[in-house]
Amino acid sequence: MRLPRREKKRPYVPVASFGDLAFLLIIFFMVASTFMREKHVKAREASSPDIEKAELKPISVILDSEGQLWLQGQKCPPDALEAAVSALLEGAREKTVMLKIDKDQPQEKYGKVLLALSGAGADILLVGVREGQSARPATPN
């Protein structure tokens, strides 16, 4: 007796939803990414032959080309810096503060910033460029 041969089904993987998945991933990374907070702050980097590559740190302080002080991308009065940094460092495991100072600022301005950060118990990472490289006009991050 001849049995009727069963028709084999071709295997099929539905991939139409992969596109949605990929776009969801793109949207997730776009939302979760943090972009430069201090893009708008103008501070020319100082140069030195004695600097190395460093890791980005979550807390940043900038003294810009006009002598204005910025903490985490927000203007900060110099007198309030020590308390504000202390508050940020409270309970934080990472005590390092990235400090960028415009190369032409005088000591009477940056000296106070260094003392305030030291008083707040911060480890200071001074940001600059290696001598010979051109200084960028805006912030590093």
């Binding site: 990929a22 890791e55 600022q105 000296g111 990472l125």
Partner: protein, 149 residues
């Protein structure tokens, strides 16, 4: 007379390859993205409050920076000489209290100049003690100085 209606083909856009396209885009950006790493120098500054009674230049080596010259223990040096002297001091082999260097900058010294000196101190393994000018000193009168401790 009744004409037979032509059967229209079903309008369908095949979007299957959109997934491949999106994944290729993701992979492209993952591979080509470089995360900007800042260049910098970690300063070792003793944290704490200022101590106006402390004589900062009592025992420790001192670097004085003015707009046009650098003094190391009161001797004028070029920046390269300063770097050589600092590396010759072999700070990493010393105890912590023997690694302190007082850095004193005049109020008009631009940060670029100060940065070169403090990064050289930091690279040599020295611990930086900052000297703060008092208002009276800035006016040219005699006055004390404070070292961060």
């Amino acid at each position: 007379m009744r004409l037979a209606r032509k059967s229209r083909p079903f309008a369908d856009v095949d979007v299957t390859s959109f997934g491949d396209l999106a994944f290729l885009l993701i992979i492209f950006f993952i591979l080509t993205t470089t995360f900007v790493k800042p260049m910098g120098s970690r300063l070792t500054i003793p944290s704490g409050t200022s101590d106006p009674n402390r004589k900062s230049d009592k025992d420790f080596p001192t670097i004085n920076i003015s707009a046009d010259r650098i003094l190391f223990n009161k001797d004028e040096v070029s920046f390269d000489e300063l770097r050589r002297k600092l590396s010759g001091m072999k700070f990493p082999e010393r105890r912590e209290e023997e690694r302190i260097i007082i850095v004193e900058a005049a109020p008009d010294v631009p940060f670029d100049r100060y940065f070169k000196v403090v990064t050289a101190v930091s690279r040599s393994g020295g611990i930086l003690a900052i000297v703060e000018y008092e208002e009276s000193r800035k006016d040219g009168k005699a006055g004390g100085q404070e070292a961060s401790e």
